[in-house]
Structures are given as C-alpha cells and as structure tokens.
Symmetry: C2
Subunit: 139 residues, 2 copies
DNA sequence: CTACATTAGTTGGTGTCACAAACTAAACGA
DNA sequence: TCGTTTAGTTTGTGACACCAACTAATGTAG
C-alpha cells in the first residue's frame, strides 16, 4: 500500500502534518505559530524590533503588537538599549524560556509518534536528508 | 559541514522552509494558506460546509467567510444541494481550478530547487520516507 | 553647529482569519 | 404534529498582517 506521493505532494503533506502538530501544541498553551517563532528566535538572541522583523519576515509594525501581547503575558520584555535611546532589545523572560522549552518537549513527542512507523535507521536517514535540504537553502 | 539537526529540529525547520515557499507562492496570487488548502481540498471533492470544516479543521462559522471571499473572486461557487434544501455544495470553478494548478506548478518549482542539493536517488528516498510518514498518520 | 536626511519604533486604519454563541430554516423522528 | 437535530449564517471579539503616517533620536553635510 506504500503509495509514493512524489516529492512535491509528499513534502507538502508532510509539512502540513508537522506544522499542524506544532500549531496544536502551541494552541494548547495559547500561543500562535508566530508567537512560537518569536520565542524560538529569542532563545539565543536579543534583537531589536527591526532585526526581529527581518528574522520573522514580518513588517516591523507587526512586531509591536506581537511583542506587546507576549510582554503582557510576561514572556518577553523590552529592554532599552544602552547606546541608542531610540532602540529596544526584546528579551525572553525566564517564564518565556520555560514555556518555549515546554512546547518544544511536547512537539518532540508528537514528532516521535509521527515517525514511529519508520525504523530507527529510516528515521536517521530522514533526519539526515532534512538537514541536507536545510543546509543547502539560502537561509 | 553536514550538521545533523536531529529528527525534531530537522523536520521543524524543513517544514518552515517548505511552508514558507508555499505561502509566498500563494501570496503572489493573493491567496492565504487557508485559501490554498481550500482550493486543494476542492480539487477532487464537492463537500458541504460541515464536511469542509472537518477537512480543514476549522469551525464551520469560519467556512462561511472563507467561501464568501473565494466566491467573490470567482474561485468557488455554492451549489444548492438537490436532496437537502438546507445544504450547499462548495464547488471549484474553472478559474479556481486553473489558479490551484498554477500555484501547484509554482510551488513544485520551489520544491525542485529546495531539494536540488540531493541526488536523484536521495530525492526518491526522501519522497518515499515522507509518504510512509503520511500513510502511518491518523488522517 | 545647524539643517536635512536617516533610522528605530509606535500609531492608526484596513482586511483576513479564527473562534464561540446565537440564530434561521429545513429535515427527522417519536 | 411537535420537539429535536442538522446545515449554514450572523454577530461579536480578538489575533495578526499590512501600509502609511507619525515621533524621537541619530547621523551627516556644509
């Protein structure tokens, strides 16, 4: 019954599955996909609003509200820049970091289930191929 | 430099890449991701609003507006059901079908680029693994 | 040193999209 | 026939995305 969907449909459907799983886990913590990406990006950075807009590929005016809402929930804070009085740094709080890690754990469990039909070597092969595709890509 | 990201991060990042490509192609035709999914689902079905809600995992009240907007653009139509005067069938128009196919072609080109770093056998392997994961999944 | 341009970020306005709750109309069932 | 489901829409709210216009601070040319 192993009907091969082809690389285009295969990848498309796979990504809907995986993104759907992530979206559900995020929603369980009242997070949108964008919020998850925000937390993810902030794990190892403290960017300004403009850099954040570039990283998330959003308009900078979208960042204001995004950070407002996350900030209202105590997930991030705006720290005024030392050197530039116009600028701010958006920083993950401890609470934000903890939530990000929790979502990552939950999502990891989902992925484990998704690929549970593959043998261990197959899982490693899939992981390796995915990594290769990512490396190759512009980002 | 082939740094393996692990199955979780690897799949996550891969899906962001692929979904990003699809979203951009869709946006080029003024389509949201949801609109694309709508057109995709309608390619081989003419579901009612409730079935559509189930297929897209949306509330049925969300379907009304979605179909309204697509219908205003002439991409779909509401056909009153023969047997049940309450019900409608949502049907792809020729214009809608043509647009769906165009987006699919564009997206296919993007995928080809994305996986162009893989050899042909590797691409087939990735496709096969993706298909296996999809089959296994509940849907 | 001042005047102009640039940069950082916010504000205000619009539209999409998602939900929940309430509603209308048709169909079903006892 | 009368109450209950079922199909779909309406109404109201909020997140999110964009653009254009704005404020405030920086930078730079003369």
């Amino acid at each position: 019954m192993s009907q091969d969907l082809g690389i285009v449909d295969g990848l498309a459907q796979l990504t809907f599955l995986v993104q759907g799983a992530l979206a559900k886990r995020a929603a369980a913590h009242d997070l949108s996909m964008t919020q998850v990406r925000l937390l993810g990006v902030l794990r190892d950075r403290r960017p300004g609003v403009n850099q954040l807009a570039a990283l998330l590929e959003l308009d900078k005016s979208s960042i204001t509200g995004l950070v407002d809402r996350a900030s209202a929930r105590g997930l991030v804070t705006r720290v005024p820049s030392e050197r530039d009085r116009r600028a701010v740094e958006v920083v993950l709080t401890d609470r934000g970091r903890a939530l990000a890690e929790e979502v990552e754990r939950d999502f990891g469990a989902d992925v484990a289930v998704l690929v549970s039909g593959l043998t261990d070597p197959e899982q490693r092969r899939l992981s390796a191929l995915a990594s290769r595709v990512i490396e190759t890509s512009p980002a």
